[in-house]
């Protein structure tokens, strides 16, 4: 059953060398938990961005905590390129596994369905097929005769994300953000931070149940108020664009990144 723990305890559930799946900005990025995770001294993470990431990935990269990254893009959006990602790729600081958004979803879907691979439309002709030898083009074995790309299952060790609320039984409200469910279904363990724990059972009414990830898929929950800051959380709060721009500017240099990271971690501890 789902445990409700402190943020530090939740972060401690991630161990070095594990694969960690994280959602796209705005979907519910667990930034507070990322700070707590950095504090644990985590290293050698195999990051899986579903299907892209921004500042969260850039922080983990800049702090030297990742061994590899599988993603369709890393970008700070309006604030421009992700500086530590860009620098890290050039330095070969980690293994880069370039992908395309629906291929990440397809890999997770294969894990959700317990099959070793998933076929996916499109992609043929892309150089991604050259740099991803784990992908293949096959002739469809049944049905319409045509060539189709197949990608292997992606089964993350841990999924980590942030949402507005959970109930005491561990049911998590995900609303329309079903990509968070996709993450949880495919992952061996799912860690969720929330703005608040509510007393009502989220599965009780048909209307609210439709937007719920059942506790069956949720291992640990921690409360983290403003837990996605400086990123947006649905209609709860918008992105702190100024803060992200400040990060983008500082992270251009290694020293600037160190200074930002230190202040970010300190800020997080003060909020907690």
């Amino acid at each position: 059953m789902t445990e409700i723990v402190a943020l530090e305890a939740l972060a401690a559930r991630v161990t070095p060398g594990q694969s960690l799946a994280i959602p796209v900005d705005g979907s519910g990025v667990a930034m507070a938990a990322t700070a707590a995770l950095l504090e644990t001294g985590i290293r050698d993470l195999k990051l899986i961005c579903v299907p892209i990431s921004g500042m969260q990935a850039d922080l983990l990269i800049g702090a030297g905590r990742i061994a590899s990254i599988e993603t369709s893009a890393v970008s700070l959006g309006e604030a421009g390129a992700a500086p530590r990602f860009t620098a890290g790729v050039k330095n070969g600081a980690f293994t880069m596994r370039d992908s395309t958004c629906p291929a990440i979803y397809a890999g997770l879907l294969a894990a959700q369905k317990g099959v070793p691979f998933m076929p996916i439309a499109g992609i043929i002709g892309s150089d991604l097929l050259n740099v991803r030898p784990d992908w293949q083009v096959i002739d469809s074995p049944v049905g319409e005769a045509r060539k189709v790309v197949v990608v292997p299952a992606i089964s993350p060790d841990v999924a980590l994300f942030h949402t507005p609320e959970a109930d005491r039984a561990g049911n998590v409200r995900i609303g329309r953000h079903r990509e968070l469910a996709d993450l949880a279904y495919a992952s061996k363990r799912t860690l969720v931070t929330v703005e608040r724990i509510v007393d009502r059972n989220l599965l009780d009414s048909e209307d609210s149940a439709a937007g719920v990830l059942p506790s069956l898929y949720v291992d640990s929950i921690a409360v983290a108020t403003g837990g996605a800051w400086p990123l947006a959380l649905w209609d709860e709060y918008p992105a702190d664009e100024a803060e992200i721009a400040r990060y983008a500017a500082m992270a251009r240099s290694e020293d600037g990144f160190r200074a930002y990271l230190s202040a970010f971690l300190t800020h997080r501890k003060q909020v907690a």
Binding site: A73, C101, Y105, G122
Partner: protein, 247 residues
């Protein structure tokens, strides 16, 4: 400032024209000009009693018709339910291939861009992909991209999707899927065909007489500067404000 506004207005009106006839257009995040073009078409169709246009803007709450998570746009495209989409590229070549990954030797590319996003997939599946890249320079428009994020034509397999046109700050090109290349359709004032030749690194077809891209007419401008920028403000407040202020 007024020139900058006019430049954008031509792009928006051109996009609305390029989208004519579609039922559902998807617009990526951070794409105010494509979004404004789509909204202009929607408003115009509504005023003329033409079929309604559905606009999905990724990351928007108000323009979100999806309830199945991040994968739904991709599934929707595979089902043939998305008629038009926009793609850009750090490099775009004369065969219509786009590069969103970087230049130089992969993986330790000399210039690294964010990544391929959904391009490798959507380029195959959406019939009317509009390549939209404001910067018009030989650095962007190259003979051959260093990395093919998404290939424009794959004769070995049937596909419904691919490039329809290329719109830049200077010109509008059509893409010919049979020939596998671009042809210049019109040049935005004040540029000339010679400017285009100078700033395009790939070969393309050029007609004997090159048209000027039409400026939006008065009715279009009124619609744009009123209703469209108001509608746009919900998703792109900063952009809409700038455009309004310039007016």
């Amino acid at each position: 400032m007024s020139t900058e506004r006019e430049r954008r207005e031509i792009l928006i009106a051109t996009i609305a024209d390029l989208l004519d006839g579609i039922r559902h257009v998807a617009v990526g995040a951070s794409s105010p000009i494509p979004a404004a073009g789509a909204m202009l078409l929607r408003a115009r169709n509504e005023l003329c009693g033409k079929p309604p246009v559905r606009i999905s803007i990724l990351g928007s709450q108000a323009h979100n018709f999806f309830t199945n998570g991040g994968v739904e746009l991709f599934d929707c495209a595979a089902q043939g339910r998305v008629d038009a989409f926009f793609l850009g590229g750090g490099q775009i070549d004369g065969h219509g291939n786009i590069n969103l990954v970087g230049t130089g030797d992969y993986p330790t590319t000399s210039v690294r861009w964010p990544g391929s996003f959904g391009s490798a997939y959507l380029y195959h599946l959406i019939p009317r992909v509009i390549l939209f890249r404001e910067e018009h320079s030989p650095r962007v428009f190259v003979p051959q991209v260093d990395f093919v994020s998404a290939r424009a034509i794959t004769p070995e397999i049937p596909r419904r999707g691919g490039p329809h046109a290329l719109l830049t700050n200077m010109a509008l090109f059509d893409f010919d899927r049979e020939a596998g290349g671009f042809s210049l359709r019109s040049v935005h004032p004040p540029f000339t065909p010679a400017d285009i030749r100078e700033n395009t690194g790939f070969a393309y077809q050029e007609p004997d007489v090159v048209r000027e891209t039409p400026r939006p007419d008065a009715a279009t401008l009124a619609l744009l500067r009123g209703r469209i920028f108001d509608e746009l403000a919900e998703t792109y407040p900063a952009f809409a404000r700038t455009m309004k202020q310039a007016a």
